[in-house]
Symmetry: C2
Subunit: 361 residues, 2 copies
């Protein structure tokens, strides 16, 4: 089973990718007096039996729940969950397992980061998006009403266990949404992964074990490499945000209700590709190829908004510094860079172009 090492200035931990991890979970965990699991009711309904079966009868974990949905990724739930930890006697030596999708991972990591100023935790991502992206790299957080992920900490897990068997119960739509982040991984830094995804659409969408494992492991390897070089996003790590400036704006403008995160990023990449195509940082042929690959993992849901609204929403981007907008441009397939000089006119043109595609979809 491939184990990928994440090695940053402040942490070192393995990401395990493969089949059959869940039934052997307990013996993989560090020995602690008290283990807590944060999960969603839906995931727990599907997997609790197998999850608990790996634990000895006399050492069962305590279970905390967070309802599904972006609207629950808020401090009020962090407070409730922390109170539940305290009431159940959690101390600094307790262990938390975040078992679920990206929201569970982000919230579980943040809860672990701030409960008693930090306890250990494990990421056990159950969606493709969480496996290929959010569970790796130590970013944790919650939303504010005024913006997504505006609250958070860098807090790395002790380990990430990405069991691909969990993906068998994922809806097709969620699977596709995760695959868009893997396309992103290929476009910004791994041409081989991109080519593999171009050429194996059917096998990947059919969730064939080997194809899926390759895509997930390659995506994680790319991210582990980037995070190892730039843990705190002072430079290189920003390229992971390819498609995210406009993607986040779409999510905000549609109130996080119409699109899954990966779907918004897919549209955001289409806009960013157009910006790169117009500037000439990426050749039209390569930009078309990427766009084609994105649509081959579609359909992408449509949405209703205006260029003005999306443009306004990009001004709150966390990457911005001292009033300067930061934007990730594709250079060629497998290469991207961060620029600070994207104008409103360029963004407007890119958004217009994307919205025309939305209307045609």
């Amino acid at each position: 089973m491939p184990a990928i090492q994440v090695k940053t200035a402040s942490a070192k931990y393995p990401v395990l990718v493969g089949s059959g991890i869940l039934p052997t979970l307990y013996r993989r965990l560090p020995k602690r007096n008290h283990v807590f699991v944060l999960t969603s009711p839906e995931i727990w309904a599907l997997w609790s039996k197998r999850f608990l079966a790996s634990f000895p009868k006399d050492i069962q974990p305590s279970v905390l729940f967070l309802p599904a949905g972006e609207q629950h990724k808020r401090l009020i739930h962090v407070e409730r969950l922390a109170s539940e930890l305290a009431s159940a006697g959690a101390d600094r030596s307790s262990l938390l397992v975040a078992f679920g999708g990206g929201i569970i991972g982000d919230m579980g990591g943040f809860l672990a980061a701030i409960y008693m100023r930090g306890i250990d935790y494990i990421q056990m991502p159950s969606t493709l998006l969480a496996q290929v992206d959010s569970s790796v790299g130590g970013k944790t957080g919650a939303n504010l009403a005024v913006g997504k992920n505006l609250i958070g900490s860098f807090h790395h897990p002790l380990a990430v266990y990405a069991d691909i068997d969990l993906l068998q119960t994922l809806s097709t739509r969620e699977l596709r949404a995760g695959l868009f982040e893997s396309i992103k991984a290929g476009v910004i830094r791994d041409a081989r992964l991109f080519r593999f995804m171009e050429q194996n659409v059917a096998a990947i969408l059919k969730r064939e074990g080997k194809a899926l494992e390759y895509v997930i492991a390659a995506s994680i390897r790319m991210k582990a490499n980037v995070v190892g070089i730039d843990e705190r996003e002072s430079g290189l790590r920003m390229i992971l945000n390819f498609g995210h400036t406009i993607g986040h704006a779409i999510e905000a403008a549609t109130h996080y209700r119409k699109l899954l995160h990966g779907e918004a990023i897919a549209w955001g990449m289409i806009a960013a590709l157009h910006l790169g195509r117009t500037r000439g940082t990426i050749s039209p042929a390569q930009a078309d190829r990427v766009e084609c690959a994105i649509f081959s993992y579609g359909p992408l849901p449509v949405f209703n908004t205006t260029t003005a609204k999306l443009l306004e929403a990009t001004s709150h981007d966390k990457k911005n510094r001292e009033g300067k907008r930061r934007f990730v441009l594709p250079n060629s397939i497998g290469n991207a860079s961060v620029v600070e000089d994207v104008t409103d006119a360029e963004l407007t043109a890119a958004i217009d172009w994307m919205l025309a595609k939305v209307r045609k979809s």
Copy 2:
């Protein structure tokens, strides 16, 4: 002006102690596009003119408020303050100045720790307690309904500016409360500071500049040294909690309303001294001397509770690990250590003894 260096595994910063810092604040700050101040309405009413006077007319800071009182040290206010930061356009390069007492410092530090996963901040403590203790060492946090400081982060400031002129408007009660933490500093690690406080009660209570500066600088030097050796409280740093096991229990049992933090710690030290006296880790003569010094900075407010309630409240202490209670015992004046084998019977006897003193006060 004495500048004490804090040097830990993750940070290095100066603590400036002395007179006349506030009027020269602006030129001491790193240059940033946007400076925010978190303060209380009371502190701002007293000092805003002098605070703002140091800023150029065209570069004024944005002011955020947190009402005074432990009941506001909660995540709901963190959320409100973070939303205000976001709405005012704060980004990762913004600077926050926490200007006020311990609660402002803890909440400001925590806000800076988690806003956009961490921005820079400055501690500008306005109370003695905050100057000698809470502003130094990077502990930040908020309370849960079930317990104090159960939520938080380690996040060091870029600098601490302890202007002793700010202490002139402090109430006598708050001054005394802060001095108990300095007595603690002497008892656990600085016999010379303890002796100075024993011998200069009048000068210190009269707030004579030199005496006050000596006490504050020595207290900070002690804390900086301990934090430099053990940043994350895995060992030595726990001695800073001398008097805090029972002190926190008193605060919880009196719902944080009757006593100031320093006052509760003073009572907690009296109980801990008795435990040490009974065990023989500290000589009766030395224990009496410390008790005497504490009362010389009194009066200590009385309160109403039972031994059983206090004993129960100690079981939620953050220092506890795997069900074991950790307790800081005084060895001699200037020396303390952490033990794990304090029994309920010993704690009961110590609390009984302290409550007898409370009733006699």
